[in-house]
Symmetry: C2
Subunit: 412 residues, 2 copies
């Protein structure tokens, strides 16, 4: 999860395209150690590469990147070996793309008669802190003889008050979360994984996010959501090892051994009725959140990070109902993004929050918090329209490891 700022070559420098006269030799030599260095170094951390290997997958405790492309896939093969092969191919491609390299090893110097191994639109772009994080949905465990491996924590989410879920934006046998500081890099990654998956998986739904709404960096500004409020001030920081262990990472005794070091991801597409919100008074908006709008301070306090005094807030204030003290300590790591998907048929922006939260167990994380939010005065202005839950396996340890090995090798 460390940022290797010194290892962030331009994608361009790593590629040899047919007929392009680029550094084909360096690319064909392959291997991360053989990376050609150029003078074209990134100007800021935003261009750097995030280490792909580690005990946990990147993209959870990693400082939140600016942009998101999230895709849920359904499996279309019944051949377990073919699916395992896909996970291995995806791992190889993810390892390369997160390092700022193209999919395929020098393949652009290959035969002109074949489709390129990489679709090319990220050529010349920086690694842009791309992370790719894979998760397995409950429905996957109905396949491939995996039923006995399904974690107890991987429950189907209950129906919550106010849910209006669109089946076409919910569920999925597996998912990939792509986060990057450049949206073209995130979109390129999902597209290439979908392409590699042809004949074995198909995209069920996908979501772009244009603005992060949470920070996992202790000193960073808390971003504002589309209601104009800072939200997620007290989010778990990626450097808070104790809280990560307590609330985010699945432990060895928590469930099946294959999930040790993993986490559980809840994804919710939350439509925000911003036209209605925008006609609400400032006082009501602040009462609803339990913070002031400008500074983000809790009711009665001066500064955003001042300890909230919950009893000073209205009983149905958002901050009060979502607070751990209201929910027996329930705490989740939020990593959501604002979205705007054009306009609905009534001239209203189809906009909102694509909520993403990681936790050690949804039964003690998202579920009690969301149940508490049934009374949230914010509900008049939002609606949950998509929902999914995934078991996020542990990280890929090294060059020989692959996504999902702990799940699929135990049974083999």
């Amino acid at each position: 999860m460390t940022e290797s700022t010194s290892q962030a070559p331009s994608r361009r420098s790593l590629l040899g395209w047919g007929g392009a006269g680029l550094a084909l030799g360096a690319a064909a030599a392959g291997g991360a150690a053989a990376v050609a260095r150029t003078g074209d170094e990134p100007r800021s951390d935003a261009g750097a590469a995030v280490e792909f290997h580690g005990p946990h997958q990147a993209g959870i405790a990693t400082p939140v990147q600016d942009r998101l492309h999230f895709a849920a896939f359904d499996v279309t093969t019944e051949d377990r070996a073919a699916f395992v092969e896909l996970l291995k191919e995806w791992t190889v491609a993810a390892r390369r793309m997160t390092a700022g390299r193209a999919v395929g090893d020098g393949a652009y110097g290959g035969p002109a008669e074949a489709p390129p191994d990489d679709t090319g639109e990220a050529l010349g772009l920086k690694p842009s802190r791309l992370t790719l994080t894979v998760g397995f949905g409950p429905s996957l465990f109905g396949r491939f003889g995996l039923a006995g491996q399904r974690p107890d924590a991987l429950v189907e989410l209950p129906k919550f008050a106010g849910d209006n879920l669109d089946r076409d934006r919910s569920g999925g046998d597996l998912c990939v979360q792509a986060c990057a500081d450049d949206p073209q890099v995130a979109v390129h990654a999902i597209r290439n994984l979908a392409r590699i998956g042809f004949g074995r998986v198909v995209v069920r739904w996908s979501q772009l996010g244009f603005g992060k709404t949470s920070s996992t960096t202790p000193d960073a500004q808390t971003p504002r959501n589309l209601f104009g409020f800072k939200d997620g001030t007290r989010n778990i920081s990626g450097t808070e090892k104790d809280r990560l262990e307590k609330f985010v990472w699945a432990g060895e005794k928590d469930g099946p051994a294959w999930m040790a070091g993993g986490s559980y991801l809840v994804a919710r597409r939350i439509r925000m009725h911003i036209e209605t919100w925008d006609r609400t008074s400032l006082q009501e908006q602040e009462d609803i959140f339990g913070r002031d709008k400008g500074e983000g301070a809790p009711v009665g306090k001066a500064k955003e990070r001042d300890e909230p005094f919950l009893k000073a807030m209205k009983p149905d204030a958002h901050v009060r109902l979502a607070h751990p003290d209201t929910n027996a300590g329930a705490t989740i790591l939020r990593r959501g993004y604002s979205f705007t998907d054009g306009t609905d048929g009534l001239g209203r922006l189809d906009a909102g929050l694509f909520f993403l939260a990681f936790q050690r167990d949804p039964r003690t994380g998202f579920i009690p918090i969301q149940r508490s939010l049934a009374r949230d005065s914010l509900n008049e202005y939002i609606q949950h329209v998509g929902s999914a839950v995934f078991a996020v396996p542990p990280g890929v340890r090294d060059q020989d490891d692959w996504w999902g090995r702990t799940l699929f090798s135990e049974e083999a």
Copy 2:
């Protein structure tokens, strides 16, 4: 159109929110000259402000920003005075937002009983080179007694071979193009203009673009489209005064006087069938474009900016058919963006190019070029699904001027 990098305060420094303890005094003092300076200066040009005033609207010759939010509106009022009042209110808001300020003059310090003047999600963000560019569609001239003012150049586009236009993504009485280096700033601007327009205009359709596909800066890297190719290498640069005069700005003798200094905008939503493209051989891809994929050099040449030799290309190559030499010199300024709007019902990415082109006259610009492209071998992989054309009035000259004054004052 000059970049005032020295005048790029944080949005935060300009606002006084109720109860927030911020620099309310400075904001309430109002006026661009009273801007409070802080130590929070932008770290790069990407955060700077683009001058709103000038003979031409910003957002045309301005170096292309990274992100787009484009909205087409329909008029819902029959009251000409109310519409003119909207244009004036929009101008005031656009002037403030492009300078990195909130809508409304210190209004956050105003009554808590009223909705805030600004929706707030851009608070604390840099101006991010935001430009707002307004255009008037042909249908607007059927309203408000404007029929006699409609420019001859503002033709309805003919039906082109292969068009498969969705009415709900086409047309519009007027449009606003918002470009910025931060998508939240662009989305915030469109949202606030739509909010101000309540009861007078309604959003007909809107489009987000996540990646620029053209450059209007002579030395910049040509961005890649979602087919992985550099496109727009020979685009008009914002510094090429002669070509801008010849091909982009409407002159005094070109048509109605109110359009002098304006331009014409053609917008096309082009769906790209990327899954099919990705299974096409490298050779075929390069033949179709008439460039190699890695460097972007024209067929038979070494470098991207080498002069293309059209006869070396296949007769149906894209570069050849779009080239001015094939189209009696027709030249347009392109400013398009890649988009990805999730997934269609068949698991394919709903992705492509939101094509935007400015020109002095569509009859000698986009229309002959698009007719020539009827033979384009690229057509197997793309489809035009949305279309609109707008007359873009000249720039707002100064603090007292407003969008559309030359059109609406002539008749008054």
